[in-house]
């Protein structure tokens, strides 16, 4: 019998992540529709979503395949778009590190912007959670969105009908990302980091291979820690 706290953690992960389907659904539909337009069958579109589980990488790879880019360029670009996940992986060590290897591997498979950001926020707000509860929370969170991501990829590919751009499906992605960080803007160091992040994105946007994103993230994290230290010293 699972302990009560375990079940609670799993259900909380599920419940806190379910609302994100409001934006996951249109985004998955859009990927399916674009894959369908590119001549992919539904099985192929589904396989991409199931195997890669990363919206931005999938869109980038699909575009490059359309452009007939060489194999290695498609794969490396798709990976570069996802490079921020290495940082997420490092940040999750603190919380999921004590879990058995197979659980960490499963968590890595369903590691997304959503599961990462929702997870660490919840872990920080609930410091008494055990590693096992954290894993279960993460699992509940993933279960809330990953099957929906796959399902609506298929629906998009089968429906295949071009959805007019006036529907603004493309904008589901930025809205999700904003929803993930807006609630975190509670302290001066967090605000400073976000500000540096935006400025660096504007300044270094010309850098290729998503290097601008990694650079912006590193500079913004440094800004957060520096401001935090300054405030501590003054206090």
């Amino acid at each position: 019998m699972p302990r009560n706290a375990d079940k609670t953690a799993f259900m909380q992960g599920l419940r806190l992540t379910l609302p994100f389907n409001l934006v996951i659904v249109p985004f998955a539909l859009l990927f399916g529709v674009l894959a369908g337009e590119a001549g992919w069958d539904a099985v192929m579109a589904l396989a991409m979503s199931v195997v890669v589980v990363a919206g931005a990488s999938q869109f980038a790879a699909l575009q490059l395949i359309q452009d007939n880019a060489p194999f290695i360029v498609v794969v490396l670009t798709g990976m570069a778009v996802n490079l921020r996940m290495a940082m997420y992986s490092a940040a999750l060590v603190l919380h999921l590190g004590p879990a058995p290897l197979w659980q960490r591997a499963l968590a890595a498979y369903v590691l997304t912007d959503q599961t990462y950001a929702i997870g660490v926020r919840h872990y920080e707000l609930n410091p008494s959670m055990t590693p096992r509860e954290k894993v279960l929370f993460f699992g509940g969170s993933a279960l809330a969105i990953v099957p929906i991501w796959n399902l609506f990829t298929v629906i998009g590919a089968v429906a295949g009908r071009a959805i007019p751009p006036e529907f603004g499906l493309d904008f589901a992605a930025p809205i999700t990302f904003i929803a993930l960080f807006a609630p975190l803007l509670r302290s001066v160091p967090h605000l400073a980091a976000a500000l540096v992040s935006i400025c660096a994105a504007l300044l270094f946007g010309f850098l290729p291979y998503n290097l601008w994103l990694i650079l912006a993230a590193v500079l913004a994290m440094i800004a957060g820690v520096v401001v935090e230290s300054l405030l501590e010293r003054r206090a």
Binding site: G78, A117, A201, A220
Partner: protein
């Protein structure tokens, strides 16, 4: 046109590649602690990476071929303001989507 076999190969290779990226630290470091400074830096990761990720998508959306779009910019602002004010992701999404659809209907 790429053959289906080539596309399947890309799907598999990209799947392995992105998994390795996500498994990297979780898999290799496991139960050991990261250096204290790194942990402090990573504490700010969500607010360090997501605003940068969003900035070009908001200012130069691909759907409009990179042209600034008032409806999308307003939707992003609404999501940010409401999300920060309510401390809630769901309210950010609701505000962002509402303003987006309203803006696209009125301005688009």
């Amino acid at each position: 046109m790429m053959s289906n076999a080539e596309i399947w190969a890309i799907i598999v290779a990209l799947g392995i590649g992105t998994f390795m990226i996500r498994f990297s630290f979780l898999g290799l470091i496991g139960d050991r602690r990261l250096p204290r400074l790194l942990e402090r830096l990573l504490h700010y990761l969500p607010v360090a990476v997501l605003p940068a990720l969003v900035t070009p998508l908001v200012l130069a959306p691909e759907a409009t071929d990179g042209a600034f779009d008032p409806a999308r910019a307003l939707a992003a602002t609404a999501a940010l303001a409401v999300g920060a004010w309510k401390q809630s992701a769901i309210w950010a999404i609701i505000a962002g989507l509402s303003v987006l659809f309203l803006g696209l209907a009125l301005l688009g």
